[in-house]
């Protein structure tokens, strides 16, 4: 969304209690902030409260460098966790990919055409296949091959690269390696994966082959945050495409690729626009 003057977006979550919205909106109003977006969700089962709120910095009387501290104080008194995002500070994405380029290419096109407003300082791969496309888009390409033996060392190199480039979000655009718990913990809730099935159906390897053998009439794709349990992380977005008895493993894969790239792009946008909150293995995804 094109923001003319800078805004700040807050994500807030914690145990539900009376007066959260009033307290927070009143604080913004008292400091001459104009709220341009507010959505909230109360989960009565978990007794949790989730809020996304955005206000104009133009005219807001709290100096920018103090906003996080002052807003944090308000949230602290409400015993709510919070994170702030300024609209003029872009997220820094690293895209990790193996041999197949369809998801990578789709993300890069959206980035170039101004749909995906982020910095992409690095494309990282265990193969060399996507070097050309990275070159076309003038993005540094890091070919870090991996074998069973070199895996821990390669992960160290990847993590060192992410730190050096100040990466805050890692997108696994069909990166066919399992990340270690250490890696996952270092980027908790910040690694977005695309799984090529409608999870929890066909978790694990080669889901299109599994789908073919089961004879399903629909295949899907799931984008989720990576957690230590494989294919079990919080789901951000899912979509499907109908198939028929005429489809074989090859055509299922092709139809699947179309859904994969669309689902990943939608999920990355939701994350980049700070619309996703996570609680108890599930996501709250607010409208755009």
């Amino acid at each position: 969304m094109p923001d003319e003057s800078p805004t700040v977006t807050a994500l807030v979550q914690g145990k539900d209690t009376k007066g959260i919205i009033a307290t927070i909106t009143n604080w913004i109003f008292d400091h001459s902030g104009n709220i341009v977006y507010l959505d909230q969700h109360t989960d009565p089962v978990e007794d949790m409260f989730f809020m996304r709120i955005r206000w104009d910095l133009d005219g807001f009387v709290v100096p920018r460098e103090e906003i996080d501290d002052k807003f944090g104080e308000v949230c602290w008194r409400l015993q709510m966790a919070h994170r702030l995002f300024f609209s003029d500070r872009k997220k820094r994405l690293a895209i990790m990919v193996s041999k197949q380029g369809h998801c990578l290419l789709d993300l890069l096109y959206r980035w170039r055409s101004g749909q995906l407003i982020v910095d992409i300082p690095a494309i990282i791969s265990n193969h060399d296949d996507q070097r050309d496309i990275a070159g076309y888009y003038n993005i540094p390409y890091f070919h870090l091959p991996v074998t069973k033996e070199t895996k821990p060392k390669q992960e160290e190199e990847v993590m060192s690269l992410l730190r050096k480039e100040g990466i805050d979000t890692v997108v696994l655009a069909r990166y066919m390696q399992i990340l270690s718990p250490k890696f996952v913990n270092a980027y908790r809730n910040s690694i977005i994966n695309i799984h090529h099935s409608f999870l929890p159906a066909f978790a694990g390897a080669d889901p299109y082959r599994q789908a073919f053998h089961r004879g399903v009439k629909i295949i899907g794709a799931t984008s989720h945050y990576i957690t230590e349990e494989l294919d079990e992380g919080p789901i951000i977005f899912q979509d499907i495409v109908p198939v028929t008895h005429r489809d074989n493993v090859i055509t299922l894969r092709r139809k699947g690729e179309d859904i994969e790239k669309m689902v990943l792009a939608r999920a990355v946008a939701m994350h980049v626009e700070n619309r996703v909150l996570i609680h108890n293995g599930k996501t709250v995804v607010f409208g755009g």
Copy 2:
């Protein structure tokens, strides 16, 4: 949605201005109300603000009979229009139908099974075909036939019946008569129609025949509020179903009926749950 203790839902709309959310939420909080839902939308093109907010009456210190007056005062100062709905006061629906019963039957099933929480004091038809099903559900059935000559008189009878029964919402569940401007104005933004096409495609008569002749690959249905301009009212919900060259006018109608009843049911639910605001010929539909 099952509400254990009664709540009140406010719909608020008007020119956008600073501090609306803070003012309103603060007023609720100051009177010990617990907000259980808030969604808002700012339309920067029209410079309009829309809000749906719901709070518990349990513990709220403003006496129930004064809430509308006091809340209205707050809105008045903000120059916002408002409406209040108490969760323990059901809407009163009249369903109007002609010969085809699929939409009627679907609504009645949802009503009987507790999905659609309303009173239905009247089913009104210009034909006698649906009397049986009304009888099965123990709802009074009013057969008010209409000819070109008797149309104004029949409409008077319908309107008189609606007044007598205290109807606030009229659902045209495939009622194949055009209502007069007088009728439409008397129930402005309260008459929900199902049009059997994906508007604005195939406005007018016999859309399935039009769709067949055009050779479209998708057909749809549109539920909208009735306005004086036929098929031009604010759209509440739309959905589609794919079709092929094997479909003829008859099978298009059958597939269409399935979409019609689903779309109408969804739109009626949105209206009954007070999730729809209207401005400038368009709707804002908040999440459930």
Copy 3:
């Protein structure tokens, strides 16, 4: 589909070999039959051939009572299995149901309105809840309660009833009992079930609760033939509906019911129109 003059539809399947289509179509043509539909599918993985072919009986020179024998001879020489269905002989359906009536009601409406052209001599239930609706449609209702102890005996009664009524197709419209292998074998490929999830995701009990806890963004329904392995039978049709974090187990169930009844109705139509062939745990579903 409204057939003016009677037709016969043949389903043919077996190992692929040269000249099957030519042999069969030539035989029909040589006996003055006019083919009005032909679709075939070759599965190169299994090396199997599937065909659905329909021709007019009007002018066909083989006497009706000899068609099955003569056509069978042709198929026998090709080493293909076959079944014939005459358009003026309706299938005889029994619908089995437990407490929830949404799928039953939907099927009955389609039957009454002429969409579903079958005979329904029996509605069978282990509960008495749906007696009224059966009465409304003038269909005999058999209340055969079941406990752990009486289960074998109750199944005997059901099977005896099916035999007595000449039932060829059993529709489990949310019948919440597991059928014995004996029952399943007696009606192999003729018992259609609706499972309230997007199989193979959430097989087993209470799939909406499972879906809620997993936090999926889409729920679905699957209609399949019953086999001895629970939830593993050949899938006929599947569809989905998107959900959000605002959905709870109750609203998931409601949205699920809408998909269930639509998916079951579509699958029953596919079966009734003789469009489904089965091989190796999967279906071939030809266009309508």
Copy 4:
């Protein structure tokens, strides 16, 4: 679809009459051809017959260079029109584009990854924006600017280029110029366009703006063959995406682009796989 040994696909259409399928399949069988695909459609309203049939050339006793003549004789006797396509002869596509590259990029990715099996000897544009991407894929890029005055001359240059390159299919991948009747007639049923709306809704210019002002809840895209009547040609494929009140003209365009490129790619595949027949302004699209 990966064909190991070459096959030939015939499209046949004309007035329905007895024995067409038998005559054609028998001819193939008599010459030792193995039919690997057959689908047909009878349109009872128009009394028309449509067929797509494919057989192996391996073992077929008619010499390849005589097949068209001999098969044509069979069709001539049945008074059916026909076209033959050999699987080892690729179609030759020209892609025409204006400033926006999303559809072009998507087609090129599918071509490079082996999904879209065609030759692409030319990308033609009235702007220079897409030269880079053409260069990346090593496809000659022809920048032929157009003004009101130079339009006829530019069209001559385009047509001369198409002839020189032996183009049989022209894909308008968001080419924002109206083609002259002369051009359209020269490539009748061979120019595939993507219209950025769910036709017939929002024909004409700027459909996303129209959709925004009408407040629709779904937007779509339509791929169709170009005819002399703008936006009225035979529809090949359509799809949609849901939208909400939060969408503005910019976000509608972005969501629209995703649907446009998917719909165009699907339609081009249908055409390239010789699955589309045209009659009376409508298409018959056989399964893949």
